[in-house]
């Protein structure tokens, strides 16, 4: 499943997508630890698998929460995207 958390507002589309088929539910949870804003959480899907998800209280402010990792000019690689060993995390902006 490709889970698209986030929104589209007047300024554009701001989604973090997590491919739960690739998400292995790693024991050490590198994505959860990599995010400086604590956006990533664990969630159990209805079929009993543990996967990564975005905290539901923060889903509606992704543009603001992620801005710390996305300075205006240089675009260093994002910690959450790099942390996932299976390439399950992507940002649409």
């Amino acid at each position: 499943m490709i889970a698209g958390y986030g929104y589209r507002d007047a300024e554009g589309e701001f989604y973090i997508s997590i491919d739960t088929d690739r998400c292995a539910g790693c024991a050490e949870k590198p994505c959860i630890r990599a995010c400086p804003r604590g956006l990533f959480v664990e969630e159990e899907d209805p079929y009993g698998e543990t996967v990564a998800a975005i905290d539901d209280l923060k889903r509606n402010k992704l543009k603001y929460e992620c801005s710390g990792c996305k300075p205006g000019r240089d675009r260093p690689p994002l910690p959450c995207v790099t942390a996932c060993p299976h390439g399950a995390v992507r940002h649409t902006w």
């Binding site: 507002d9 007047a10 300024e11 209280l57 509606n60 402010k61 543009k63 603001y64 929460e65 801005s67 710390g68 996305k70 300075p71 205006g72 000019r73």
Partner: protein, 259 residues
Amino acid sequence: MITAGIDVGSRNIKVVVVRDGRVIGLAAGTGGFEQLEVARELYARALEQAGVEPGDVAHVTATGAGRNVVGFADSRVTDITAAARGANHLFPGATTIVEVGAEESRGIKTDGLGRVLDSAVNERCAAGSGSFTESMARALGMSLEEFARKSTESTARIPMNAQCTVFAESEVVSLIHSGTDPKDIARAVHHAIASRVASMVRRVKVEGDVVLLGGVAYNVGFVECLAENLEIDDLKIPERPELTDALGAALIAAGRAAG
């Protein structure tokens, strides 16, 4: 040399007349549906205040979202360029500018000499601008001044989950229904918008002196929350924060007229 800057914002139009780097006349008013007419009137009024004739003005530069409306301007610049120039004039050496207007907000990084290095914008979303606090003040049945003042009296920290003005209004109404103290609600609202503005500014990095521009700088509640969020105790705010873009445009006009 006498020049003028006209800032046609999303809601208000501001005019500043400058002679050799000093403000000699100004005027401001609501743009409404007839922006060109209002711009003309305000321009005339500012010139009158300055005691000069239109023929004395060497160059007029327009800025703001509606700058193309000002047919009689000699040139145009973006708000970002004008803001950087105006802020530099008032606070030389400042490298970070935050501008919050009626319908959008901006963060600007300069080189300390008035030149823009980087910028970030919150646009087309009422929640990142003055419209947000105005809507919430209305929902609480208070004037904006009272609303702002009350927020500074609060000591509680309630989170506000809604990021949209429409949802925030519902959230405010249910907070009222559940008996929350209006000043705590006021604080939560100001904190919410300050937080959005601060996130945007951080994209250009908060360094050196920080200047706050735009009409929302008059809102004491917002200023307090923004300072707290950015961890700065001396935000630089001009006496007339809504006029700085027009001032910047007038100064740029002087540079252009000189050739």
